[in-house]
Symmetry: C2
Subunit: 283 residues, 2 copies
């Protein structure tokens, strides 16, 4: 596989990250996962806006974000994925610093790593839905930054897999936040409800598209706090993410929420999401 690293296109196994990269030693970096549907990257500008935000919060500057789209296109071409549903990954760290010190050296240059990979959403989970569990949100309080400091997400996701559920939906102080790599929404009396944007959740791109689709479909929607107790009163639930798009939730473990099948509004949004991808490609 050909990947991109600091200005060069290289076989990915030729790429040498320094053990003194602050990404490796301190999780001092940000990332994005973008979606490629043949033959266009989806919501690319929104991803780059979020990346800019993450980098600004980390105070990592002198990154030329404008070039990333053409690099991704070149990666798609070099890896012959032009007609394949794929993802693009970009990770930017503060750079290499020796000797190791917590305090960042202001003169180091960022490390940039990008690659693309063939990946299609899982048709089975899209059609039939998934079971999720609930858990206390153990993360830091700057979840609005899409950082590589992901150990809390990893340990919780590992716990989900060990328990045989697709995802854990977190709550903080009794209110739903999001999943380990997904945003979450509910439907109650045909109203789509999702937690509001704040520093406890990531401003998901798929979440943003879903809210836009609600407007287009004249579906009422609310961004508001949702208590764990309220889950049992919800009619539908679904997850939103760049890779898994809109995935219905048919059961929430340790709650009485179980629908047996994906909800009607969920499936309507899923269908519109696919139409929107197609529209987007033609633009």
């Amino acid at each position: 596989m050909i990947a991109y690293y600091n200005g060069q296109f290289l076989e990915s196994d030729k790429i040498q990250i320094s053990p003194f990269d602050r990404g490796f030693q301190f999780a001092d970096g940000a990332y994005e996962v973008v979606r490629y549907y043949p033959n266009k990257f989806f919501e690319f500008d929104a991803h780059m806006e979020r990346l800019k935000y993450s980098l600004s919060q980390l105070d990592i500057s002198s990154v030329n974000i404008e070039r990333f789209q053409e690099i991704f296109v070149e990666l798609i071409q070099k890896n012959e994925l032009f007609d394949q549903s794929s993802i693009g990954y970009i990770q930017i760290t503060r750079g290499v610093q020796f000797p190791r010190r917590h305090s960042p050296d202001p003169v180091i240059s960022p490390t940039i790593f990008m690659y693309v990979e063939k990946l299609s959403p899982n048709k089975e989970t899209h059609a039939n839905g998934v079971t999720v569990g609930l858990g206390e949100d153990i993360r830091w309080i700057r979840c609005d930054i899409k950082s590589i400091s992901l150990l809390a997400n990893i340990l919780t996701k590992k716990g989900a897999v060990d328990k045989g559920v697709y995802e854990i939906v977190w709550s903080r102080n009794g209110f739903i936040t999001e999943g380990t790599h997904t945003n979450v929404a509910f439907v109650k009396n045909n109203v789509v409800i999702t937690p509001p944007l704040n520093s406890f959740i990531l401003a998901g791109i798929t979440r943003k598209v879903v809210l836009k689709l609600c407007d287009e479909l004249k579906l009422q929607h609310e961004e508001r706090n949702i208590s764990v107790e309220e889950l049992n009163t919800m009619d539908e639930c679904f997850l939103m993410a760049t890779t898994s798009e809109i995935t219905p939730v048919v059961k929430i473990a340790s709650s009485t929420f179980r629908t047996g099948a994906p909800g009607k509004v969920t499936m309507l949004l899923q269908k519109e999401f696919q139409k929107n991808i197609h529209r987007n490609k033609l633009m």
Copy 2:
């Protein structure tokens, strides 16, 4: 510099970390910094016990911790640091996984990186003390794990440097936790007071040694919650860490705590700490 990487001693600039190392992409790993005072590693077993604990919490297994002391000794020899005050760094990640998925692949092997570096405590800050600031603890709630998921520590430490203070001492829900890379203790009426061990702070090795020294010196000590309001009533304050040992705090910004000079009990403990290093080396 000769470092150690997955079974080999190599020039550190020859070490290639894969961009698919879970340490680089997910901060999925743990680390330790150990102290070498010629000619012995200090409290080595305590560091390895803590490393074992961190790895167990991450469910990273098949790491042969018993070999690490001899590897560190070999690194000291190869880098001719035998008679130099130094530190040893060890980082263990879950390993390389491609394609990138949050959920860990159980069959991958851990990545092990170790190096040594000449480093002496700062005599000036030891003698004259430092100013620290206060801040809300923004971290996750598993600060008992010495993980490489350190972005919260980095951003806070960067803020400290930007403000011109040595360290930020965090509080959570109004109670003092610790600094970004130090534990903190206070002295009030000759009683040494430090926050209790729980998942909000790291079980510091220097902290443990200081409490043992208090016993030997028949200095009363308490491990208890300390409210931010209480800081103004404290007589002394000091930081504890493997690298910076016992560092007096002479001023806490945005509080009325300022002593003008390091406290008596602090300096007594600092002296005993040096004696203890010497005793330890002879054992």
